[in-house]
């Protein structure tokens, strides 16, 4: 029958979507190796990974939200506000910026970081899922509010007097890789596994693909969509913690503009803004591509005035290459 011959190709194409970025990634890495002989050194590759860990976690959160067919722009602000509140709880007031005279112990403060992420997600979920407000604009408003709260609560000051635990994720290493990289790796493995092998993961795809059909199949659409906002908030909070450790301080601008990069990584990695399409593997290739290009442009000594234009052009080029190799229109 006619459809029978069509099937294998369709499936192949669907899978290709997730691998679409690999050729582009390979080309960039190849160019990197040619342009600069240190590019492929272990040192440099570790550096790329270390620089990408925070982004990777935020992209993971955003990907989960996108899979369910929603949006969360406010994750970039969570990257700033969550660790900031943890820091303000952990820094003694005596230093002129903390909130308490006898501050919280580090572990509790770090727990607070995660809790803040969860609360932001809870609130977003409430507005988007329960009140059915437009996700784009709600989370844009939240982005602005949280950024404002960060500037307000720190009076714009950079926080750096936190206990060492705040920096541990990015500075401590294990088998030569920063803990942050291990953490991101594990998070992708676990989430990737759940998405593929667990009912909750399958439910995300179903919700994003057709929420009505998912509801009719007994999937608790609202509850899951709401939970995903919370999980994304927590992941962004962890990303923020990693970022803090990476930079060694927490400026009131932390996370600023990051959301563009987050979307860029997810979308060139094959995650559809319409929901229900894409894999974490794809998203991860998106993160790595951006990290490698960033690194490469510095290594290739592109003049700084033109570096941004080249960066954009490389993304566009990768996108077109992905289009050609996967042979499919993109959504």
């Amino acid at each position: 029958m006619a459809t029978e011959t069509a099937a294998p190709q369709r499936i192949r194409l669907a899978r290709l979507r997730d691998l679409a970025l690999l050729p582009a990634l390979a080309v960039v890495v190849l160019i990197g190796g040619l342009v600069n002989d240190r590019f492929l050194s272990t040192d440099n590759l570790v550096a790329v990974l270390g620089a990408s860990a925070a982004l990777a976690l935020v992209v993971l959160g955003e990907t989960l939200v996108l899979l369910t067919g929603k949006f969360d722009l406010s994750l970039e602000s969570t990257v700033g506000i969550a660790p900031a509140i943890g820091a303000l709880l952990a820094i003694p007031a005596a230093s002129g910026i903390g909130w308490f005279d006898s501050p919280l112990p580090s572990w509790l403060a770090i727990l607070a970081v995660l809790v803040v992420g969860a609360i932001v997600g809870l609130f977003n979920g409430f507005l988007v899922v329960k009140l059915q407000l437009n996700a784009f604009i709600v989370t844009l408003a939240m982005l602005i509010i949280l950024r404002g709260l960060l500037v307000g609560s720190t009076e714009g000051k950079t926080l750096f007097q936190m206990p060492d635990a705040f920096f541990a994720l990015a500075t401590n290493t294990f088998l030569g890789l920063p803990i942050s990289v291990w953490l991101a790796g594990v998070a992708y493995l676990v989430a990737g596994f759940l998405l593929r092998y667990h009912r909750i993961g399958r439910a995300l795809y179903a919700i994003g693909g057709n929420a009505q059909a998912a509801r009719a199949a007994g999937i608790r659409v609202d509850r899951i969509a709401w939970s995903v906002f919370i999980v994304a908030g927590v992941l962004a909070a962890i990303g923020g913690l990693i970022q803090t450790g990476y930079v060694g301080a927490l400026s009131a601008g932390q996370g600023d503009r990051m959301i563009f990069t987050v979307f860029a990584a997810a979308v060139i990695g094959g995650i559809s803004l319409d929901g229900g399409k894409g894999t974490l593997f794809g998203a991860l290739t998106g993160v790595l591509l951006l990290g490698v290009v960033d690194n490469l442009l510095t290594a290739a000594q592109v003049p700084s005035f033109w570096i941004q234009a080249v960066y954009g052009a490389v993304i566009l080029g990768a996108l077109m290459l992905a289009r050609v190799t996967s042979g499919k229109a993109q959504t």
């Binding site: 006619a2 459809t3 294998p8 009912r199 399958r202 059909a213 199949a217 007994g218």
Partner: protein
């Protein structure tokens, strides 16, 4: 007698491929002026593809189309195509956010010096709908119409282009008998005024009712074209399926009556909600119950409320004697209800996901320990479903968007039965499904019944209702009549339409 006029449309040697799929292979069709010509074939045979070629929406890879003996206009010239052929496509072509009036006159709005005259537009739209007896406000948004209204609007629009040749791709799949009758009456009128039709339907009796000639497609190929009188119903089915052997649908009247001690599987008491009030009935194990009525009767709403898709305003549902939490699909599933929802595209399937994923969607929590739903288990269930329901597909990993309508419906059926329900609710189970697939789907209902479970079939298609032990008829939101198996077709139709027959 003069020489026969040139055919209204003649397509020769049409081949159309989608990637590696060949949807049409060297297909030809000739439609004579003034006739109503049926185009039939199983799901996926290529009918809709041929329609899109005949309306200029897609360009064949090879072959020619001519109208009245002249070659078809270039594909880009939509205006020229529209003068030659109008079409009601199988898939809705309304713009949901625009009003009915505007949808009727899209891209040809009455205007003066480029300025659209809205009042004229609304007036002309109202006139058009009135002429058609379509009772819809021209100011309503098209997206808020129900299926029947939307379809009628599309039909009215197609006819209003003034073309003398009109294609209707499964216009009756979603209509109730009332609307179908009106459509046929209109077709007769137009036909006597010289309009030619190409008519697609899976209801073969309709072919005999309105058409003079029929063309059969099978597996992308042209099989036969003949006057309808020359082909018996079973010959037609044989041509479509490529095998001989008639249709056999279990008939409720031929079964032993239910034993009196059969326990109650589903009990609905005083159920009220949007569109229906105070509905009560009981469904016993081993019983197939029909729930019939026109589209506006509220029958869908009752079924959806029982399944938890809607919250009732009042009343209660019990499954096996245990009260069911209202408005909660998951509770209904756990209580042992399975459901084939009304629209497979809206509620039945996630088109981008695989057959396995769709078939297991309602039982994701039962595939493995701790909620694990390993692809292997999913694929396994999908493969079983393919075998059990005769889905034509490559394997369980194939996305359901690849399947033909009838095969998609079988996947929905698999999903409804995945939790091995004690009560199976099937709403419009065979809409848009070809004759052979219809038979397979109804056989499933009969098998489930034979296993000692209960089935509720919600439909107004007589074929769907035939396996029922009794049929409840709803009118205007309330239960109005009950017919035990053995009803006469005319009797049930009259009951559904609320027309009293003499001497019942």
């Amino acid at each position: 007698m003069s020489a026969p006029a040139a055919p209204v449309v003649e397509a020769l040697g049409i081949t159309r491929r989608f990637g590696p799929t060949t949807a049409l292979h060297d297909v030809g069709i000739t439609v004579r002026p003034g006739e109503s010509h049926a185009l039939v074939g199983r799901n996926g045979a290529g009918k809709s593809t041929l329609v899109s070629v005949l309306t200029g929406l897609s360009k064949p890879d090879s072959g020619t189309v001519s109208f009245n003996g002249e070659p078809a206009p270039p594909v880009a010239d939509r205006e020229a195509w529209r003068q030659r052929v109008a079409c009601v496509y199988q898939h809705s072509t309304v713009i949901p956010e625009l009003t009915v009036a505007e949808n009727l006159f899209l891209n040809r709005q009455p205007s003066r010096r480029g300025v659209i005259r809205w009042s004229a537009l609304r007036r002309e739209a109202a006139e058009l709908l009135a002429a058609w007896g379509v009772d819809v406000s021209v100011d309503a948004l098209a997206g808020e119409l129900d299926v029947e209204q939307r379809q009628l609007v599309e039909i009215a629009r197609a006819l209003s282009y003034g073309a003398r040749f009109i294609i209707l791709d499964e216009p009756t799949a979603q209509l109730d008998s009332h609307a179908i009758a009106r459509l046929f009456e209109r077709m007769h009128q137009l036909q006597s005024a010289g309009v030619t039709f190409l008519f697609i339907s899976h209801h073969l009796q309709e072919v005999y009712e309105v058409c003079q000639a029929v063309t059969v497609l099978r597996d992308a190929r042209h099989i036969v074209t003949a006057p309808v009188g020359d082909l018996s119903r079973s010959q037609l089915v044989d041509a479509m399926t490529g095998e001989s052997g008639g249709l056999a649908v279990a008939d409720g009247a031929e079964r032993e009556p239910l034993p009196d001690n059969a326990s109650v599987a589903l009990s609905v008491r005083g159920l009220s909600g949007a569109g229906f009030a105070d509905v009560s009935f009981r469904l016993r194990r081993g019983e197939v119950l029909g729930l019939a009525g026109s589209n506006a009767s509220g029958k869908h709403q009752v079924a959806e409320t029982v399944y938890g898709l809607r919250k009732p305003d009042a009343g209660a549902v019990e499954v096996g004697g245990v009260p069911l939490k209202p408005g909660d699909v998951l509770a209904a599933l756990h209580a042992g209800i399975g459901c084939v929802p009304r629209s497979r595209h809206d509620q039945g399937l996630v088109l981008g996901m695989s057959i396995g994923d769709n078939a297991t969607m309602s039982v994701l929590d039962r595939l493995g320990p701790a909620g694990f739903a390993a692809p292997k288990a999913v694929r396994g269930k999908g493969t079983t479903a393919i075998a059990e329901y005769g889905v034509v597909a490559k394997d369980a990993d194939q996305p359901v968007s690849d399947l033909s309508g009838g095969n998609q419906q079988k996947v929905v059926m698999a999903r409804a039965l995945a939790n091995d329900p004690d009560v199976l609710i099937m709403i419009n189970p065979t809409a848009g499904v070809d004759v052979k697939s219809k038979q397979a789907l109804l056989a499933v209902a009969d098998r489930v019944r034979a296993e000692g479970k209960a089935v509720l079939i919600v439909s107004d298609e007589l074929d769907d209702l035939r396996p029922c032990d009794r049929v409840l008829v709803m009118r205007a939101g309330i239960l109005a009549a009950e017919h035990p198996a053995g009803w006469a077709d005319g009797e049930l139709v009259a009951s559904i339409e609320g027309v009293e027959l003499d001497g019942d």
